[in-house]
């Protein structure tokens, strides 16, 4: 049987790029990506809420696109690039969104915030002219149990507007 048809059991080696850093680890096949990031790499900014893809707290970027890390196996990220809230905060990618969430009280307990920031960043990239309705639709898969969403939508809308102004200059 060729290598690709091997039945993988127990622990296996994976190599991937996490926040720009090359990582090689051994993981059990049943380990999901969220637990891999938190438990094996200590990147606890990715939060685990429902563990079945409903709450959005575990949102990370896989090869540049947001995904639910609880619904992907770590072994499926082999050879891929993963970006988490830690990396995207450190490199300044989320800076204006974070400042806006701070200014407008877009969080209270903060549990949902990493996932919401990553979702908001993809929204603004793919829909740079998003209105409030589009923001709410795009965020529909990220639950917040504190804010009632209004301040979150305010914070994102204000970044949409400030980036629009920058584009016009």
């Amino acid at each position: 049987m060729s290598d690709s048809l091997a039945v993988l059991k127990g622990d296996n080696n994976i190599s991937l790029t996490v926040n720009g850093e090359s990582i090689s680890e051994r993981v059990p096949v049943r380990r999901n990506l969220a637990d891999f990031l938190r438990l094996d790499l200590g990147l606890t900014g990715t939060h685990v809420g429902c563990e079945h893809g409903v709450c959005g707290a575990c949102t990370v970027r896989l090869d540049g696109k947001i995904v639910r890390s609880c619904l992907i196996l770590a072994i499926q990220a082999d050879g891929k690039r993963v970006d988490t809230i830690e990396g995207l905060s450190d490199d300044g990618y989320l800076e204006d969104l974070q400042a806006s969430f701070h200014a407008r009280n877009g969080l209270q307990c903060g549990f949902c915030t990493p996932g919401i920031l990553l979702t908001a960043a993809e929204l603004i990239e793919t829909h740079p002219d998003a209105d409030r309705e589009k923001i709410r639709e795009f965020l529909s898969g990220n639950y917040c149990r504190c804010t009632g969403y209004h301040a979150i939508v305010d914070a994102i809308e204000s970044v949409v507007h400030s980036r629009q102004k920058k584009r016009e200059l």
Binding site: S2, S4, A6, L8, E51, G53, V67, R68, G141
Partner: protein, 283 residues
């Protein structure tokens, strides 16, 4: 919760995947986008011995046109369909449906083949395929076969695929300029499964409405094509605005009660959705 232990295979070609299925039979489950399967593994609602991950099979990706049909590879992500110019040109109903399927992070990963093969009666894409009179392309040890959408969905999460077959693509007749499409659903929150939904297609040239296909979802164990209602509407077209003949839906649909809506309410909502689509076409 966490998924129970399982074994894992990652074929790189369709032939290898078929080899895995042949070897393992019903012990194996195909892992496509995983947006339903991974959740059910985490909740331990399913516990397959082996997962056959088909994400590395490049030949299952892509959207193309073949002899008057739009062909969509099984592993094409839902987000790709949402923004594909080929899809909006040749199968605009899919473009209309896509934003209503779960949420962006789910659509970045979820696949059309996964949705069709899973055959969730509350999902949009199976009904969409039925409304578009599409076909499922399956490969097995004896080669390829095509299954009409109306034959493919058999019962609750049951399809015409056999244990040794892999869904490789779906094919849809390319839309022409006379065709009209409509999509409506009623959900408590955006991205939730709908209480009732409707995918509709028709041919509207001069004053005649023909080929009307009304495919309702979450009204039974599989998508329901309301043929009698469709023919009633076509017969009196375009004099439908004042008196839309929707009474037959009461016998054509037999939805179950659940926490969100009673059976009677679902039938009522199905009529509301039908009326809204027809009025949209007439306006």
């Amino acid at each position: 919760m966490k998924a129970a232990a399982f074994h894992y295979m990652q074929p790189k070609t369709v032939d290898e995947a078929l080899g895995c299925l042949e070897q393992l039979g019903s012990d194996a489950t195909i892992l496509a986008g995983g947006q339903s399967l991974m959740a059910s593994l985490n909740m331990r609602l399913s516990n397959p011995a082996v997962l056959i991950d088909i994400n590395a099979i490049d030949e299952l990706n892509g959207i193309s046109t073949v002899e008057g049909r739009l062909r969509i590879g099984a592993m094409t992500r839902q987000a790709e369909l949402e923004y594909s110019p080929l899809v909006s040109q040749h199968a605009p109903l899919i473009t209309m449906v896509m934003p209503h399927i779960a949420h962006p992070a789910i659509r970045n990963r979820g696949t059309i083949g996964g949705s069709i093969a899973f055959a969730d009666p509350a999902a949009e894409l199976p009904a969409c395929l039925v409304a578009l009179n599409g076909q499922v392309v399956a490969q097995g040890p004896n080669g390829e076969r095509r299954i009409a959408a109306t034959e493919f969905f058999q019962d609750l999460f049951e399809t015409a695929l056999t244990d040794n077959e892999l869904l490789t693509a779906i094919e849809i007749p390319m839309a022409n300029e006379n065709q009209r499409f409509g999509f409506r659903e009623l959900a408590r929150r955006h991205g939730d499964y709908a209480m009732v939904g409707l995918c509709a297609s028709s041919d509207w040239s001069s004053d005649n409405l023909t080929e009307l296909r009304l495919a309702y979802f979450n009204v039974g164990p599989r998508p329901v094509l309301a043929e009698q209602t469709a023919s009633d509407i076509c017969r009196i077209w375009p004099q439908v605005r004042n008196e839309m003949p929707l009474d037959q839906l009461e016998s054509e649909l037999d939805p179950p009660d659940d926490l969100n809506a009673s059976s009677t309410m679902r039938v009522h909502l199905a009529k509301v959705l039908t009326r809204r689509i027809i009025e949209e076409w007439l306006s």
